[in-house]
Amino acid sequence: MSKTQPLVARDPEVESRESGLTINRAFKVFQSSEGKEVKAINDVSLAIRQGEFFILLGPSGCGKTTLLRSIAGLESLDAGEIYLGDQRIDQLPPYDRPVNTVFQSYALFPHLTVAQNVAFGLEMEKKPKAEIAKTVQEMLDLVHLGEFGGRKPHQLSGGQQQRVALARSLAKRPKVLLLDESLSALDFKLRRQMQVELKRIQRETGITFVFVTHDQEEALSMGDHIAVFSKGRPEQVGTPEEIYNEPANRFVADFIGDINFVDAVKSADGEITVEGVPFRVKQDISDLPMDAEVSAAIRPERITLTAPRESALTGTVETLMFMGADVRCEVRLTDGTKLLVRLSPPYDTAVLHEGATVSVEVEAAHMRVVER
């Protein structure tokens, strides 16, 4: 990050990245209770653009929350740097960082009212009283709690407390807002509402959101970019479409949505063979050796079942479940692999019924080659 004057007009893409949040080779090791060293953050480098909704996704214990807390300053890195634009922030105490956190537990001050909670951060900045009152009201209106300023947190429902926590953090106008599993305590329907709400607030305020979640559906529906974490490292960073359609490896493929893994062998350049049937894949597999044993990852909705024909994968329909919007089938291939197939009704009952032998059609372009 040099501070020299640029000689040419900057690329807006680069511009927004440089005023965003950059994490450079971060490490953090914890001592587990058995005395083992756990690498909570293991060589993480991420570039988060300004004004985007960025998601840290991963199973519990993958280090995503530790990374978030490191950005907030509640955890210190063992090595590595965190930059906000040109400013290095990883050595600042939490109260001097222009980032704010919405905690999983909400962490509202129980002895203060909703309005006082929202005002707390502004009082720390020693803003004039009138300005604080105005901002507090704006923020409460933004989260649709304009009438609730005089209540105590315990008088509110979980969803309302969540929104107060959001308003309290947003009131400080942070450059980056960090959200730690913020919706996981809410019930399903409220969660859906809040997802839409969060997205709206993020767009309206233009603040960079970094959102930690273990819920892949939530990640796909909200994120501009997603980093899928496993064991302290990002396995893949990309848009929701990229993550879903082009998973970088077996972990990402397995973690995001439903997927089938079928044993395959590289039979030619750009071609894999599943049970003797060749498929020309879109993916570049030139660095794999010939006859490499791999897996083909196939999404259930990318499979179609037709009447049996030659030179296609064949299988037997084991179960057939009507789910409303779609039909879920379990098909057993000749080699014993079980496939999950999702079809949209209507379907031909003459071809498709339990026990029927069918031909399994997969478009090669929708197959991903991952390690076995």
Binding site: T101, F103, F109, L112, Q116, F120, M124, H144, G159
Partner: protein
């Protein structure tokens, strides 16, 4: 406001309705016929209520009654004749010729007691807050052990523990031995008001620690992180978040130290050597040597009144503080 919010609100209102209809009487005592199946009739609790009242209000009633009676011509006890002499004696004295003049001696005793009790309370609370905070941050298992350690003094008799302090503070005790070694020379510590206050602090410190610890043990330390995150520095976090959470404990700690310290007896006599007259000693001497039971009872009643007044002020201040916080 979303539909879900409205639903919760409606539910809250519905809960309020039956509560508003019940009278104070039925809320306190309930109707004996309203007992649920499997529940004992409420009258069964009457014996324990009566015993409880006798044990709490009974002695106080006797003391207040005695304070308005007269002393017999000879010896202790009281005669059942209404008199306010005891209260008059508190402020005035009669000389040999029967002239009444203002007498500040007893007020001074109250003043000394008040001062020692205040000093004890302030020091106890100041020492107890960091201890309670430290305890509450330990793991659950260590917290149990620490609570046990704090209560160790309760295992032995207060008198025995005070004698131990006499051994520590006396002329040939370990402190003076150390002072002599350091070349400072031995100091008169035992039988001073300093020793008396030391004894009081020692006695009442656990009573300040325990309520503060119990207020802080349920404290959610994530609130501290939230405060840091919102830009609060260490002292602000301490003052506005942690101390605020400990406030109910601080209040009961103050009450539990101040009230008994004000009327304390053992420490001023044994450690203060009776040189500093405190209300507790004065009362004891009125019932024993002086044989003036009504005056002793009157002194006790005044202590009771002062304490009640203090508690009243504390609760008003407390509720005003919480109202202020709730604005």
């Amino acid at each position: 406001m979303s539909a879900a919010d409205r639903k919760t609100e409606a539910r809250e209102e519905r809960v309020d309705v039956p509560a508003a209809k019940t009278s104070a009487w039925s809320r306190w005592f309930g109707s004996p016929h309203a007992a649920k199946p499997g529940m004992l009739n409420r009258l069964y609790s009457l014996p324990s209520i009566i015993i409880g009242l006798l044990f709490t209000l009974g002695p106080i009633g006797v003391i207040i009654a005695f304070s308005f009676m007269s002393r017999p011509d000879m010896g202790g006890g009281v005669v059942f004749k209404f008199s306010t002499d005891a209260y008059e004696k508190l402020l005035f004295r009669h000389d040999f010729f029967g002239n009444r003049s203002f007498d500040a001696r007893y007020l001074q005793v109250f003043g000394t007691s008040l001062w020692q009790a205040l000093l004890t309370t302030v020091i106890c609370v100041a020492l107890a807050f960091p201890i309670a905070l430290w305890m509450s941050m330990k793991s659950a298992k260590i917290q149990q052990i620490l609570v046990l350690l704090v209560t160790i003094p309760f295992w032995t008799n207060l008198l025995v523990r005070t004698y131990a302090w006499m051994l520590i503070l006396n002329e040939n005790g370990p402190i003076n031995w150390a002072l002599r070694l350091l070349g400072i020379g031995s100091q008169q510590m035992l039988y001073t008001s300093f020793a008396s206050v030391i004894g009081l602090i020692y006695t009442f410190l656990p009573f300040a620690i325990l309520p503060m610890y119990s207020a802080l043990s349920g404290f959610d330390f994530r609130l501290v992180e939230a405060a840091y995150d919102l830009g609060a520095h260490k002292l602000t976090v301490m003052r506005r978040v942690i101390f605020r959470a400990a406030m109910p404990g601080v209040m009961s700690g103050i009450a539990l130290c101040f009230i008994p310290a004000f009327g304390s007896y053992v420490q001023p006599v044994l450690l203060g050597g009776g040189r500093v007259l405190m209300v507790g000693n004065l009362i004891a001497s009125q019932f024993a040597e002086a044989r003036n039971w009504p005056f002793g009872a009157a002194l006790s009643t005044v202590i009771l009144a002062v304490t009640l007044f203090g508690a009243l002020v504390a609760s008003i201040l407390g509720s005003r503080a919480s109202r202020k916080a709730g604005e």
